[in-house]
Amino acid sequence: GAGVSQTPSNKVTEKGKYVELRCDPISGHTALYWYRQSLGQGPEFLIYFQGTGAADDSGLPNDRFFAVRPEGSVSTLKIQRTERGDSAVYLCASSGGAGELFFGEGSRLTVL
């Protein structure tokens, strides 16, 4: 597609439920990033993929968070046993290595 696409744009779930957030990067971009933006804060790095492998997952807050990118294109961020503190906007970005990150519009997660 023309830009980074994220689905769903909004997700409301109950505490303890499992959530999946999807990111479809710009075609041909090998690098894919996930960030989390809490209210009133700047984005915080979660995980970075180069191709299919996670090159750096040091930003994942705990083992309830996991992300995959099985074919080197679409990525899914998975959150188990959601907590109210997980409520945030989850941003995906991709790069083709030309000095710019292209961000999607984000998935807003609300945990009740």
């Binding site: 990033y33 700047g42 941003l91 000095g99 710019e100 990150l101 961000f103 999607g104």
Partner: protein, 114 residues
């Protein structure tokens, strides 16, 4: 560790007036610096970036930023703001190359009054 401070949470400016947004960074090596803008309901859009060379960087939408190593600053400026510049602005620092593990500041919200 890398970090970014944006001292101003909110700035109000009149249309046509000049705008300056402050950014201070902490980084152990030569920083790669970025300014992004986020309009309501929109994704982050890159305004400009500094990697090396000329310390005055021109970006899109009439914005520019100046890298000052001695002050660890990368302030964003626009000579004359338009109502469409109302948005949230984020400064970010990263290791460079093809690594975009960026650290963002908390952002500055800009309100433009007629």
């Amino acid at each position: 560790a890398q970090s970014v401070t944006q001292p101003d949470i909110h700035i109000t400016v009149s249309e046509g007036a000049s705008l300056e947004l402050r950014c201070n960074y902490s980084y152990g090596a030569t920083p790669y610096l970025f300014w992004y803008v986020q309009s309501p309901g929109q994704g982050l859009q890159l305004l400009l970036k500094y990697f090396s060379g000329d310390t005055l960087v021109q970006g899109i939408k009439g914005f520019e930023a100046e890298f000052k190593r001695s002050q660890s600053s990368f302030n964003l400026r626009k000579p004359s703001v338009h109502w469409s510049d109302a948005a949230e602005y984020f400064c970010a620092v990263g290791p460079g190359g093809n690594d975009y593990k960026l650290s963002f500041g908390a952002g500055t919200t800009v309100t433009v009054r007629a």
